[in-house]
Amino acid sequence: MAGKVMTMSEAVRQFVPDGSCVAMGTALEPLIPFAAGHEIIRRRRRDLELVGPISDALFDQLIGAGCVRRITAAWVGNVSEGLGHCYRRACEHGEPRQIEVRDHTNFSIALALWAAAWNVPSLPTRTLLGSDILTTNKGLRATNGLVEVDAVQPDVAIVHVQRADAEGRAHAWGPLGITEEAGLAAHAVVITCEELVGEEVTLSDPNRILFPETKVVAVVHEPAGAHPSPVQGHFKRDHVFYRDYATRSRSVEGFNRWLEEWVLGVDDRAGYLARLDVSRLRVTHRRPSVPADYGDE
């Protein structure tokens, strides 16, 4: 298993330099690459632009840790709990730093990525008409009854999937949000996966492969790398963990203690998992898909 396989630390070191534009959490609530985000925090990355639709807590953590220069997203908070307290502090008091916000809707951020995937400057849409979001994001312009959504091209899309092979052929299932367009738009894709499998698995179903392997620069085998977000067939969502984060992140001190406990105070995902019992979240009941027959002769 050589190929593009590397550790999370190596992937972040190589492919998420300071100042990068990074798409994460592209499937909305499931498959959020928290392990990758936490490594970005540990490596003290700075001045990142984060691109996403609805972001469930991960963007809030990166903002609180001071990694973020700009948010280009439809929503930043905690889906089951409400507000993102670090996001609030950054926008309201510049704590720990000022950030720029480019508001989008879920639909418009998808179109911004499709524009980049097709290499056009913008795409038109009928959403956003009559919304004040048009006044705060100069990448959205109303023109004769439509809104032009400017292309957003991430330097890298970090995507957590159920399984991938060493060359980066990734299978993900369940709702995909804007995952496909994020990977096609980005200059490069980093895959983190629950299972690292052989190509006899991935190539058995080429329709399920998310991206052309030519876009994938790194494959990180990171089981439970999406915790506390859910992974179909592997893990349920850890609602309690989200609630604990929401409560503790209300104050800067509380957030910093949370960050020390779960991110800075551990070396890697293994260290994080050592402090946690994920077995209670593990999906035990199987629902295998009926195979498709790719027979050719």
């Binding site: 499937a27 909305l28 609530e29 499931p30 639709p53 609805i54 469930d56 997203a73 439809a74 929503w75 930043v76 908070g77 889906v79 089951s80 507000l83 993102g84 996001y87 609030r88 950054a90 926008c91 309201e92 916000v101 508001d103 989008h104 809707t105 879920n106 639909f107 998808a110 179109l111 499709w114 849409t125 009928r126 959403t127 956003l128 008409l129 009559g130 919304s131 004040d132 979001i133 006044t135 705060t136 009854g145 439509l146 299932w173 369940g174 709702p175 995909l176 949000g177 804007i178 995952t179 496909e180 367009e181 977000s229 859910p230 179909q232 067939g233 349920k236 969502r237 609602h239 629902r287």
Partner: protein
């Protein structure tokens, strides 16, 4: 029978769903409202979820988010968000639900900024799919706790447009396809709008509250319908359904 304000809101919201509707189901309480309606008067209602799902029945287990595994198992379609939004842009979504932080007398929602965007007093999470639903669904409903600071004369920032400045034809002048807000369901009452849109009025008051309570908790001089009524309380079967899908009161019991 005792019930919480959230259970009242879910029951009222579920009654907005008509049989056969394609419902764009938002975060939190609307997920329960769809489940309740589907199990009662709207057996053929389908749910569409922006995460990229279509369903014709509620998930088999509790959902903390629409992307939780039980919402995927048995789904009719698991796809990209842009495909789901495309259906709504084609006018195929009959009803949408949006959560609001602030609503004003013309049904405009603010989920972005309290105060100035440059230096807000409160930075709210943002639109998510809210603005998309407000602009592209045929009709929509919002749910929120009834507080004077949340039901305001005019929102400081229109994230999801209702009837704008309330003048006739405002939405059409913006080029908006969808029909606009049909109701604001709060912890105290139900506000509705004239058929052609415009200013919200008090349509019904939940049991235990009065018209005066509602008006005193509303940030503008709220109109009251001549035939203002009492909202019918959740039925036993509605409550049973709600409690089946939210057994621990995650959504329907106020947190301390």
């Amino acid at each position: 029978m005792l019930y919480t304000p959230q259970e009242m809101m879910v029951a009222v919201a579920s009654r907005e769903i008509r049989d056969g509707d394609l419902v764009f189901v938002g975060m939190r309480l609307p997920i329960l409202a769809y489940a309740v309606a589907r199990n009662a008067h709207a057996p053929s209602a389908r749910g569409l979820f922006e995460v990229g799902l279509m369903r014709d029945q509620p998930a088999g287990a509790f959902l903390g988010t629409m992307g939780d595994p039980p919402n995927v198992a048995g789904a009719l379609w698991a796809t990209r968000m842009s495909n789901v939004m495309g259906l709504m842009a084609q006018g195929r979504v009959d009803l949408g639900f949006i959560g609001g932080a602030e609503v004003d007398r013309f049904g405009n929602l603010n989920t972005s900024y309290i105060g100035t965007p440059q230096r807000p007093e409160v930075k709210l999470p943002g639109s998510g799919g809210g603005a998309d639903i407000a602009i592209l669904s045929r009709r929509w409903v919002t749910l929120m706790g009834h507080e004077k600071r949340r039901l305001v004369e005019r929102v400081s920032f229109v994230t999801s447009p209702g009837y704008g400045d309330g003048t006739a034809g405002w939405r059409k002048r913006q080029g908006i396809l969808g029909g606009g807000p049909a109701a604001v369901i709060t912890t105290l009452c139900v506000l509705r709008f004239p058929p052609q849109g415009g200013e919200a009025f008090l349509a019904s008051v939940h049991p235990g509250s009065t018209v005066d309570d509602v008006r005193s908790q509303t940030g503008w001089d709220l109109r009251v319908a001549d035939d203002v009524s009492e909202t019918s309380a959740p039925t036993e079967s509605e409550l049973a359904a709600i409690r089946r899908f939210d057994p621990e009161g995650f959504w329907t019991v106020t947190k301390a």
